[in-house]
């Protein structure tokens, strides 16, 4: 397995911020990396496993994550612009105070993850589940939540976590 992403990180200068764009990463495993405050634009991650990666404070623009797994990943205080998450599993990860704008979570599952004080605006949740996750103080603006072909629209909420929790518990 070629780990293109890790090779890029290894080739960075000691204090250089990771600035990366227009690339596709396929079938990779990214382990134990500290890439805080990175700027990532127009990247596609397909079947990529992120394990113990610290992205704190990073900015992701137009990034797609398909069939990816995040385990013990820190996405705290990250900014996501137009992200797409499809068939992703996010486990034991820290998304506290992350901001998500104009994107989608589709067929994703959050397990034991912490989304406290995160924010979502102009976002869609499609068949996405939250198991044993911390969903306190989640802010939401212009959100669509799809479940069993039913769409719930939320104009504004400061306690969006309750709805997400219900969405997961109703089967």
């Amino acid at each position: 397995m070629e780990n293109k992403f890790e090779r890029i990180i290894e080739n960075l200068e000691e204090e250089e911020t990771l600035t990366l764009g227009d690339q596709t990463f396929l079938n990779e495993m990214i382990l134990d990396e500290f890439i805080q405050c990175s700027i990532l634009g127009t990247l596609t991650f397909f079947e990529v496993d992120f394990k113990r990666v610290d992205f704190t404070g990073s900015t992701f623009v137009n990034c797609e994550f398909k069939n990816c797994r995040f385990k013990d990943v820190i996405l705290r205080k990250c900014e996501f612009w137009n992200p797409t998450f499809e068939n992703c599993q996010i486990e034991r990860s820290n998304l506290t105070r992350a901001n998500f704008h104009k994107g989608t979570f589709r067929n994703c599952i959050f397990i034991k993850s912490n989304l406290t004080a995160s924010n979502f605006s102009e976002f869609e949740f499609i068949k996405t589940k939250f198991n044993n996750s911390d969903l306190d103080l989640i802010g939401a603006r212009s959100i669509k939540v799809w479940k069993l072909n039913q769409c719930t629209e939320i104009e504004e909420s400061s306690n969006f976590g309750n709805l997400l929790e219900n969405m997961s518990s109703d089967g």
Partner: protein, 350 residues
């Protein structure tokens, strides 16, 4: 296959070869023992070529290898990844196109073959449904083995660990102090204090984000707006700092926000035409900050009202300085739209 099974299989094979050589050859003693061992080893592992070796779970120590999703079930090609080995039929039933149908994923790399059109409960072969037990198989199999990460780590040779160390924070401190001097601020901030503030309260370690936050908070202190800057006592109050306002002595909570210049991407030849404008980013930051001011009100040792939460907007990274007045206005517009325009401080905008 477990190590125990491997050991049992290997032992049986070894005994068989040992007995066979005893009957059909002149080999005796240790020579027979070692040759039997060698033959048994070759029979068990010898046929594998290096490319397949890591996929074969028989090999002791192969736990560190992660079979990719597309190869999770080599015995059942139907379960393999459609994008890599051909499209798979959507097994969804009873879903007809209609106004109330969730939007489908655009086809492309993923091929649209496992979109959201499956049955609610998920068919056994459907990768798209997180309820599908197979969805969880990969990580649980690997992560139940405590050696999994260790082995992977051992195999990995990191040229460059990017974890922030004390030396890096001290360098940041020195840069910060000389920057403050250039700005004409008289600062009395010790290295130890800078180190303490640059420690992530959640992890107890230095990191880049905490250094960035510290620089903003201390600049506010350096220009005489606040003093006694520190991390909040209650970690649930998830704002960067707490401090006292100079003069009134009232407690305020501070959050430092930095603007990103997407030009840093286009410098590297990356197409940023589809990116949001800096203005729209600033507008959203202003809008979101109002929600953030509300979030922690009433918490133990948290802000009592929105007035107690201040947001610092740092435009240091914006290279085109003619842009900053527009961005400042955009932040204010966003905050106005969200209904609260107080508690905003701009810096590094000139």
């Amino acid at each position: 296959m477990s190590k125990r099974k491997n050991t049992v299989l290997f032992s049986i094979l070894f005994i068989f070869v040992y007995l066979y050589l005893g009957k059909n050859s002149n080999l005796r003693g240790t020579r027979r023992f070692f040759i039997s061992l060698q033959i048994a080893w070759s029979l068990m592992f010898g046929r594998l070529d290096p490319a397949n070796a890591k996929d074969n779970t028989i090999i002791p120590g192969a736990h560190g290898f992660k079979p990719p999703i597309s190869r999770r079930n080599p015995n059942n090609p139907k379960l393999n990844n459609p994008a890599l080995v051909g499209a798979r039929q959507n097994t969804g039933k009873g879903v007809s196109p209609g106004a109330n149908k969730p939007p489908r994923a655009p086809s492309g790399l993923y091929g649209g073959a496992t979109g959201s059109g499956g049955s609610g409960s998920g068919s056994p072969g459907d990768d798209s449904n997180p309820n599908n037990p197979r969805f969880n198989t990969k990580s649980s199999d690997q992560c139940q083995n405590p050696n999994y990460f260790n082995q992977a780590q051992k195999n990995k040779k990191k040229k460059n660990s990017r974890q922030v160390n004390k030396k890096r924070v001290i360098e940041a401190y020195q840069d910060f102090m000389s920057k403050m001097k250039k700005k004409g601020y008289e600062v009395n901030i010790s290295e130890d204090r800078f180190l303490e503030l640059s420690t992530n309260p959640q992890t107890g370690q230095y990191d880049e984000k905490s250094i960035f936050e510290t620089e903003g908070g201390l600049e506010l202190e350096a220009n005489g707006m606040v003093n006694n800057l520190r991390r909040p006592d209650n970690p649930k109050v998830d704002l960067d700092f707490v401090a006292e306002r100079v003069g009134s002595g009232e407690t305020i909570f501070i959050d430092h926000k930095g603007m990103i210049d997407f030009g840093s991407l286009s410098d590297k030849g990356i197409d940023i035409s589809g990116f949001p404008s800096h203005e729209s980013v600033a507008f959203n930051m202003g809008k979101d900050s109002v929600d953030q001011k509300r979030k922690f009100i009433g918490m133990d040792q948290g802000p009592a009202s929105m007035e107690e939460v201040v947001h610092l907007y740092n435009f240091e990274n914006i290279r085109n300085r003619t842009e900053t007045p527009l961005l400042m206005q955009a932040v204010l517009n966003g905050a106005e739209q969200a209904g609260y325009m107080n508690g905003i401080i701009f810096f590094n905008y000139k």
